[in-house]
């Protein structure tokens, strides 16, 4: 399976799209520094939905531990970037 490594901007754009779609956020709310829990009001049940969507993007199984320390949108972008780099290798 070939996966093209996406740039951080592309990952953010995709993440913004799914956050807006899943959680009724405004696109401008989804910035790198935004805290998922306090700024974007995402709860643990939402997090499960989000991880499912990210699975589609990366085409990889995502271990829950990968997202354990994720707090901000930037952290998600980092995690996805790392996953994509792994799957390309």
């Amino acid at each position: 399976m070939s996966v093209t490594i996406k740039s951080r901007e592309e990952i953010l754009a995709y993440l913004r799209q799914i956050l807006v779609e899943l959680f009724e956020l405004k696109p401008e709310q989804v910035v790198m520094e935004a805290n998922l829990y306090t700024d974007l009001d995402i709860d643990s049940i939402d997090a499960v939905d989000l991880i499912l969507k990210l699975k589609e993007l990366t085409g990889r199984k995502i271990q829950p531990q990968t997202f354990k320390n994720v707090r901000t949108v930037g952290d998600v972008v980092d995690a996805v970037e790392a996953l994509l780099a792994n799957s390309a290798a």
């Binding site: 899943l22 009724e24 709860d43 643990s44 049940i45 939402d46 499960v48 939905d49």
Partner: protein, 286 residues
């Protein structure tokens, strides 16, 4: 007159303390006698569960009546018959420590979510197990367990705030209740509890009794299908937000009104704005 008031105040402190002790001892006593007995005489676990839930109602009703007779409180319930139809998710606001006592005293059969620590308590683990109560696990695990019991046709009592309301602060609603209702495709039955004057709220110790005997007004609203909050093709995460927003508006409206007003409005839903998705056809997806 002043003296009479003081004596009444002191009496209510003593009576409240007594009821708290009685409640603790009574719960332990019943857990060691009535519930095991009911379990023993019921061959079928489902029969035991029904009988124990009924015994739970009678116990809670006795506590409410004890408090009423002792002059601690008065209470009034509107629409109680709607609480007796099984298979509904009963959602209530949570102003006081005794909301669960009040509501369970009105329902012959209802599942409750209780502290999971009880499953490690040598005395109380059996009653909660036999009654079919649910441990307060988290996230998806809790939503799945709650939806499963609703799908089996049981009613379930949930306080969507997750904890008691802090007076004077905006309602902090969690979305778990909405997720449960959507996952089970159940009807949501909103119940407004109003306590006047406020007492036994979060952070208020039991001995700080109000200046006069308090009144609990319970108003059972009209059931709403969870599926009506889901627009076509919409993700559950969004529908859960709509349902939670609606509940927040419902309980906020109830909070702003006098007990009488809350009763009148919740019965007719007249003071509540009709959300747009309520007017669209429902799309139950599972």
């Amino acid at each position: 007159m002043r003296n009479g008031r003081k004596i009444n105040h002191a009496w209510r402190i003593a009576a409240t303390g007594l009821v708290f002790v009685l409640f603790g001892l009574g719960a332990l006593f019943i857990s060691l006698t009535v519930f095991p007995l009911l379990r023993l005489v019921s061959w079928n676990p489902e029969t035991a569960r029904r009988r124990i839930q009924r015994a739970m109602q009678i116990t809670m009703w006795s506590f409410m009546e004890t408090m009423r007779v002792l002059g601690i409180l008065t209470y009034r319930v509107e629409g109680v018959e709607r609480l007796r139809i099984p298979g509904r998710l009963v959602v209530a606001n949570h102003p006081t420590l005794i909301d669960v006592v009040m509501l369970v005293s009105l329902m012959p059969a209802v599942d409750c979510i209780v502290k999971r620590g009880l499953w490690r308590n040598p005395f109380l683990r059996w009653p909660v197990l036999w009654a079919g109560y649910l441990p307060n696990t988290e996230g998806e695990e809790l939503v799945d367990a709650c939806a499963a019991t609703l799908r089996r046709g049981h009613s379930l009592l949930v306080f969507p705030e997750g904890t008691r309301t802090v007076p004077g602060e905006p309602l902090r609603m969690q979305r778990g209740a909405a997720h449960i209702a959507l996952a089970a495709d159940a009807e949501v039955l909103p119940v407004t509890i109003h306590c006047d004057p406020p007492t036994l709220f979060k952070g208020n110790p039991w001995y700080r009794v109000p200046e006069r005997r308090f009144h609990l007004q319970v108003t059972v609203g009209s059931p709403v299908a969870a599926a009506s909050f889901r627009r076509e093709g919409e993700a559950t995460s969004r529908a859960a937000r709509h349902l939670t927003d609606w509940l927040r508006g419902y309980f906020d409206a109830g909070r702003r009104m006098t007990p009488e007003g809350a009763g009148a409005s919740a019965a007719g839903n007249s003071a509540l704005p009709e959300p747009i998705w309520m007017t669209e056809p429902a799309h139950p997806e599972r």
